[in-house]
């Protein structure tokens, strides 16, 4: 599993590189409940990887393990060739893992601009004394990052809400701002937790387009959880299927769709 694979080229001309992250035999328990049971899979550089499964399958828990919010009892995570038992959230962030949330977790009291600017926190270096002076190096730094953030705002087509407090935005736009905040980190691995939940068809199309563009233009590796099977099958290169904490299938969308275990899990065959 951890062996680096050679890069391949997809039909649409993108290059999929070696293994960026390998999740090996992860088990996560809360008291007596096992959320994930010995799951192993990998994410390769440049691909769009989907994690699917019925409700309660352990998908969000898996993302939480990957960016260090939960600490698994067993197993290891290898990211960029570095193997560790678990992550710490800020280490995950410094190493280039960004994330959006199932129920939008924006900074409600701040404007769109400030939310996305906060994604640059790790890249801004001027300490508090420069901040107090403001004029000079702190301002220069602020403006440099502002420029980058403005490209993201343009990319996501949200310049009109730049100064709006995000608490006042409709849900679909909030999701977009949250994506912008994650992008501002210039991540190597972008985790999206149900990016299209609660959206109408038009909004879903926009979001799909953004995801594809991010992957193609910025070359960002993406792992996403999504319930809309149509979207998953269109977007992703490879799919992992979880059910009740077990990894029941892993492969291309076509393979997964034909997998009998997956069909059973979704149609609800009795577990014995």
């Amino acid at each position: 599993m951890n062996v680096m694979t050679k890069s391949t080229v997809t039909e649409d001309g993108r290059t999929i590189g070696g293994v960026l992250m390998a999740v090996d035999n992860i088990t996560l328990r809360f008291g007596g409940v096992t959320a994930i049971r010995g799951a192993s899979f990998d994410i390769r550089e440049g691909e769009i990887r989907a994690i699917i499964g019925p409700n309660g399958a352990g998908k969000t828990s898996m993302l939480n393990v990957i960016n260090g919010f939960y600490h698994p009892q067993e197993g290891t995570i290898t990211f960029k060739g570095e193997q560790r038992h678990d992550m710490r959230p800020h280490i995950a962030a410094t190493q280039g893992i960004a994330r959006t949330f199932q129920n939008v977790a924006l900074f409600k009291g701040m404007s769109t601009l400030d939310n996305i600017m906060s994604g640059r926190a790790l890249r801004m270096k001027r300490n508090i004394f420069w901040q107090i002076l403001y004029n000079g190096p702190a301002r220069k730094e602020e403006l440099e990052h502002r420029k980058y953030v403005e490209t993201i705002i343009d990319f996501l087509e949200i310049p009109h809400i730049r100064r709006t407090p995000v608490g006042k935005l409709p849900y679909g736009l909030q999701k977009r701002v949250e994506l912008g905040r994650a992008l501002a980190m210039e991540p190597d691995l972008l985790l999206l937790d149900e990016p299209m939940a609660g959206m109408n068809v038009e909004e879903k199309e926009d979001m799909s387009r953004f995801i594809i563009d991010i992957n193609e233009e910025f070359g960002t590796t993406i792992a996403l959880i999504e319930h809309d099977m149509g979207v998953v099958m269109d977007l992703s290169d490879r799919v992992v299927v979880l059910d009740h904490g077990d990894l029941i299938a892993d492969g291309t969308p076509d393979q997964v769709q034909r997998n009998q275990g997956v069909i059973d899990a979704y149609l609800g065959v009795a577990h014995d």
């Binding site: 960016n67 919010f69 959230p89 800020h90 995950a92 962030a93 410094t94 960004a98 994330r99 949330f101 977790a105 924006l106 900074f107 409600k108 009291g109 701040m110 400030d114 600017m117 906060s118 994604g119 640059r120 926190a121 790790l122 801004m124 001027r126 508090i128 901040q131 107090i132 002076l133 403001y134 702190a138 301002r139 730094e141 602020e142 403006l143 502002r146 420029k147 403005e150 905040r181 994650a182 980190m185």
Partner: protein, 358 residues
């Protein structure tokens, strides 16, 4: 008609990031500063200085400090009284140990000591949140007051247990004791508060402010974009305590001239400053000033109305004042929980469109 931004174009991000992007606001601020530094001193006498302007300014500074912690970083603190006391007592120790020290350095020293103490009492924020943390800060309040009352070293072993300010100068001007002129005292405090207000504005509009607000709004999401909650909270505790420490030093040395731990810096003081922050507006620099003005002026106004106009006895008026104060606070929280700063913002929005209804 007058307050309008049409025709004012920004040509770069720098102009867009300015504190007052609108021309009228910039002028308004300049006029305010001119009035504060030139106009007000013309009418200054002992009464105005000691009853209105200096208390307003020092409380505004304390409110700024608390607003950084509670309004921007979202950590509720009820220990303000205790931190004010640290500022007062450390300034006293500095003044008596180093008689030659300029008052400006005394203030910096007092701020730094308070910042250290604040850092210490901020440590529990690693594990606890919300009201639990608020109660932890009450521990600071009671412990510090007890310390300054129990350990004679802090008040130089004098018999009264009080601390009294010695005459000290700032840049060659006498600023403490009765002998200092009210104008000098006022200008000294005003300058200090102005510098600190600008510094606060600069902090909250940049990277540091965004980190604080991120922790306030969603600490988990903040952590996952690489902001370390503990470090960020401790920074807020430290900076906030620095401000409150300087305010405490000013209360003792310039405004009151004497202090006694529990009497001057009791739990009531903590609530008073918290009221200022909430009535003024959580997470607003302007709000800290508006809140301080409101809370400082209201009792004076109430007393004038009740005693002078209605001829009530002073004791009865005092009780009625307490009740009225409570009623007004509740009224305020119900009508505008976001504070005076929000009201001001709404007025500005209206002004922009005036005289057209939409």
């Amino acid at each position: 008609m007058l307050y309008r931004e049409s025709g004012q174009f920004k040509t770069g991000y720098a102009a867009d990031q300015a504190v007052f992007p609108i021309l009228q606001d910039r002028w308004g601020m300049l006029v305010m500063l001119a009035v504060a530094f030139i106009g007000v001193p013309m009418i200054m006498d002992d009464y105005w200085a000691n009853a209105v302007f200096i208390p307003f300014l020092v409380y505004a500074l304390a409110a700024l400090g608390l607003n950084i912690l509670t309004g921007y970083c979202g950590q509720l603190s009820l220990g303000t009284g205790g931190f004010l006391a640290v500022g007062a007592y450390s300034s006293y120790k500095l003044m008596t140990a180093f008689p030659e020290l300029d008052m400006i350095l005394v203030l910096v020293g007092a701020g730094a000591s308070t910042a250290l103490v604040g850092l210490l009492f901020g440590l529990p924020s690693l594990r606890i949140k919300g009201f639990y943390l608020a109660v932890a800060t009450l521990a600071a309040q009671f412990f510090l007051i007890w310390l300054f009352y129990k350990v004679p070293w802090f008040y130089n072993y004098n018999a009264t247990g009080q601390i009294t300010v010695p005459p000290r100068e700032a840049l060659g001007f006498l600023v403490t004791t009765q002998n200092a002129t009210p104008i000098v005292k006022y200008l000294f405090v005003l300058s200090v508060v102005t510098v600190f207000a600008i510094a606060a504005k600069n902090m909250v509009r940049g990277r540091v402010g965004r980190m604080w607000m991120a922790i306030r709004d969603r600490d988990i999401a903040a952590e996952l974009i690489g902001i370390r909650p503990f470090k960020t909270k401790l920074m807020a505790f430290t900076v906030s305590s620095f401000y409150i420490g300087v305010a405490g030093a000013l209360i003792f040395s310039v405004w009151l001239g004497a202090a006694e731990s529990g009497e001057t810096f009791g739990i009531n003081e903590s609530f008073l400053v918290l009221f200022m922050v909430i009535v003024g507006g959580l997470g607003s620099i302007l709000g800290s000033f508006l809140g301080a003005g409101f809370i400082v002026l209201m009792p004076i106004g109430l007393k004038n109305v009740l005693v002078d106009w209605f001829g009530m006895s002073a004791v009865f008026a005092k009780h009625l004042e307490i009740t009225t104060f409570g009623v007004l606070i509740i009224f305020f929280l119900i009508v505008e929980p976001h504070g005076l700063a929000r009201l001001w913002q709404i007025i500005k929005e209206k002004l922009r469109l005036w005289p057209f209804p939409h």
